[in-house]
Amino acid sequence: MVKEIERAGLPVVHICTIVPISLTVGANRIVPAVAIPYPLGNPTLSKEDEKKLRRGIVEKALKALQTEVTGQTVFEK
């Protein structure tokens, strides 16, 4: 899906737990997620901390979307 949408001319950020698979598949902008059963959250955190975590991932993804890349890039920070 990532590749087909990019082929149509739209930039895509792939939020994904297992970054190596995303790299193998060919995503260009990759934001690491938390864990396979809960990619965008963490049930072990308090509600407040989990919200902070979630917002952080979404903001990172939005920033990645606006960042020019020249090759496959993993946005760690």
């Binding site: 737990t17 297992i18 970054v19 190596p20 698979i21 193998t24 690491p32 864990a35 396979i36 059963p37």
Partner: protein, 428 residues
């Protein structure tokens, strides 16, 4: 560490007045057995049944398959740290009822449970159609949570196997096979000129009832470590898995791991089989990185020339497989991988979710997406209804006449990634 495995060959299984082995028949006192395995108040009923090779019987949904064994001499007991103390097992003498198995079934726990047909085409695809099966049907109490249900059934299955295993304690085995692995420094001296080979044994540990236990420890909480191969034969590793039926390792398969068996077969001839590295398949990237770093570190520490790596399950564990392969290869150590494939019903899609250039020697256990038609059976032990919802089934899998159309995924042990079946492929 040296283990004598005594095989008591079982050709038939019947209920009788006394639990005993006589002329290759395992007689089971049903009432005594029920007493031995009952007592968990999370389970409101247990029924026992027998399914033999060639019968028109379907067992489903299958949770685990366990081989009855008993520790005759040496420390510990079968399934250490779970049913007995956490003594180190794998030495002395163990007797096994070869040809018998315990199969657990009952109301479905989770959607990834399997089918065993005792005859017909389905029987060809599972190794457990060739064993005389004591089937344990557990009915949970109402509203029992899934993980509690899984745990209760797992323990009842293990207890059932150990109960039957006791029948082998005082029987003179039909065959005895000896397995021995020396302490590392001694094994290097024993065969200094043979390539040093170890087995990297990946255990399914994705959590949410995709779990494997080592001496009772949930393997997602271990860092990779070294284990003597014979420990595995005494039940040091067991399955708590509700993962796709075709490529999870039932406890039976762990105890009979063909990779270990074959490495022993060639030990001292072609290889110096120095031991087993166990590792896990966890759900965060850091866990995957850490564990694969450690398998590579241990492979280097053991000065290995080559490893065989087996996967359990599919999907994201394909990445664990590739990370192990890449990092061990980077140390200059040769690798051979064993996996299976999810290549689509026509076999034309990419087989694994991940790939790496270093994975240049790969053995497959078959394509789990292949569609198969299982004829109706005269007798069903368990329930047919889950056919539509177990992994590999789909809406309409179960037909009104009792036949099932589904992917091979539904058959217990069909595409075993430790080679505990007979499917594979060669490149022409």
């Amino acid at each position: 560490m040296r283990l004598e495995l005594g095989k008591v060959l079982i050709k038939d299984m019947q209920f009788g007045n006394q639990t005993k082995v006589e002329n290759g028949t395992l007689f089971i006192n049903k009432e005594e057995m029920l007493n031995a395995i009952s007592g968990d108040d999370r389970i409101k009923g247990i029924e026992l049944d027998i399914a033999k090779p060639g019968e028109e019987t379907r067992i489903m949904p299958v949770k685990d398959v366990i081989e009855p064994r008993v520790k005759v001499e040496g420390p510990g007991s079968i399934f250490p740290g779970v049913l007995g103390k956490a003594d180190v097992v794998g030495s002395g003498k163990t007797n096994v009822l070869k040809g018998a198995a315990v199969v657990t079934t009952g109301k479905i726990v989770a959607f990834q449970e399997g089918i065993i047909d005792m005859s017909g085409i389905g029987a060809d695809y599972t190794p457990f159609s060739k064993t005389c099966n004591l089937v344990v049907v557990c009915t949970p109490t109402d509203k029992l949570q899934q993980h509690e249900h899984e745990q209760a059934v797992r323990f009842i299955g293990l207890k059932a196997a150990n109960y039957l295993g006791e029948a082998a304690r005082n029987v003179v085995p039909d065959e005895v096979k000896v397995y021995e692995t020396l302490p590392f420094a001694e094994s290097l001296k024993q065969y200094p000129n043979l390539p040093r080979v170890a087995y990297v044994y990946m255990l399914q540990t994705q959590g949410l009832m995709h779990d494997t236990y080592v001496y009772g420890v949930d393997a997602k909480k271990i860092v990779p470590t070294i284990i003597y191969p014979t420990e595995v034969m005494d039940g040091a590793i067991l399955s708590g898995n509700c993962v796709s039926a075709c490529d999870k390792n039932p406890t039976f398969s762990h105890c009979n791991n063909p990779v270990i068996e074959d490495l022993y077969e060639r030990h001292g001839k072609d290889y110096n089989f120095v031991g087993v590295i166990i590792t896990n398949e966890n759900v965060t990237l850091m866990d995957k990185e850490r564990s694969s770093n450690w398998t590579a570190k241990l492979a280097e520490f053991l000065s290995l020339d080559a490893v065989i790596i087996s996967e359990e399950g599919f999907g994201n564990p394909d990445t664990d497989l590739m990370m192990n392969c890449k990092k061990i290869s980077d140390k200059g150590i040769k690798t051979v991988l064993i996996t299976d494939e999810y290549a689509g019903r026509d076999g034309a899609s990419q087989s694994l979710a991940d790939a790496d250039r270093s994975a240049d020697a790969v053995v497959t256990g078959g394509n789990a997406n292949e569609v198969i038609e299982l004829p109706a059976m005269k007798k069903v032990i368990g329930y047919l209804e889950p056919a539509d919802i177990i992994a590999g089934g789909f809406d309409g899998s179960l037909r009104p006449d009792g036949s099932i159309l589904a992917e091979l995924q539904v058959i217990t042990g069909a595409t075993s990634e430790i080679g505990f079946n007979k499917m594979s492929a060669t490149t022409l």
